[in-house]
Symmetry: C2
Subunit: 150 residues, 2 copies
Amino acid sequence: METTYLREQLAAKGLKVTHQRLCVLEAIHTLHNHPTADQILEHIRPTFPTIATGTVYKVLDTLVENGLVMRVQNDKDVMRYDADVEHQHHHVYCKDCDAIGDYKNEELDHLLSDFFATHQIPGFSIDSIRLHIHGRYTEGIPSNHIQDPS
Amino acid sequence: METTYLREQLAAKGLKVTHQRLCVLEAIHTLHNHPTADQILEHIRPTFPTIATGTVYKVLDTLVENGLVMRVQNDKDVMRYDADVEHQHHHVYCKDCDAIGDYKNEELDHLLSDFFATHQIPGFSIDSIRLHIHGRYTEGIPSNHIQDPS
DNA sequence: GTATGTGCAAACTTTTTGCACTTCG
DNA sequence: CGAAGTGCAAAAAGTTTGCACATAC
């Protein structure tokens, strides 16, 4: 993966561009299946065996705090991470496998923002709305990719 | 709290009606703020000091498996529990405090079911859809109660 | 009576922490 | 050079497990 973009992402937030941070970012982008901290570590170790577990957690915290990565999680699972913070999207949770897929649809997003524009929640200011779509993949392997069938 | 209803809930699922299960169910209903396992324990201990931690976790698992209780969770938090499984509702997450409120609106639910009736997700069958509404409470204490301002 | 549930304590998993050392800018 | 980041290893936090004992039905 080209790291120029990742370096820029870090620099733009005033974060130091370290080898560890690049590796973690790159891992989440590559393992686009909403990886766990452990999967991120396993992905990095072959090429960077000395990276510390604690470092990965600290880097993940920093990335989340700076909005470069999002936390995602199942009801019954470890924390997982999503590097796609650019495109507003929702998540699809399979009850059988532990896959978390992406779901994107602009029509839906308009529907939601229209709805909440006219239905404010008293005493609460909304930052973002995310659908958790629960169910089952019916045919084999989940694609885990954004779909916008508009 | 009247336990007759709780006893019936358990019996209806073919579960044995034990003191421990009643206490846990009662606690989640009473602590309507989506309590953690720990808060449930603290609520029970004064009147039932000998209940074991492991038991509470086992009871919670059983209740979730049988659909009497739902898991709810913040991005950065312990597991929490919700005893309102009757009324389809969504959750409101405050970024400042760790309150999780309820949001209920039938118009919204119709909007969503209409949308997904005409926009199936290929290879996926939907069981339920839940909004995670992120933002901040702007005025003091969150009410944490269902609102349906229709 | 018997299947089911509970208590207990030990163990496991995931994540956090503190501090000396290193690195980026 | 100095502030920010990392490695390490220990420990916290939350949850699970196994097995003898107890209880609901």
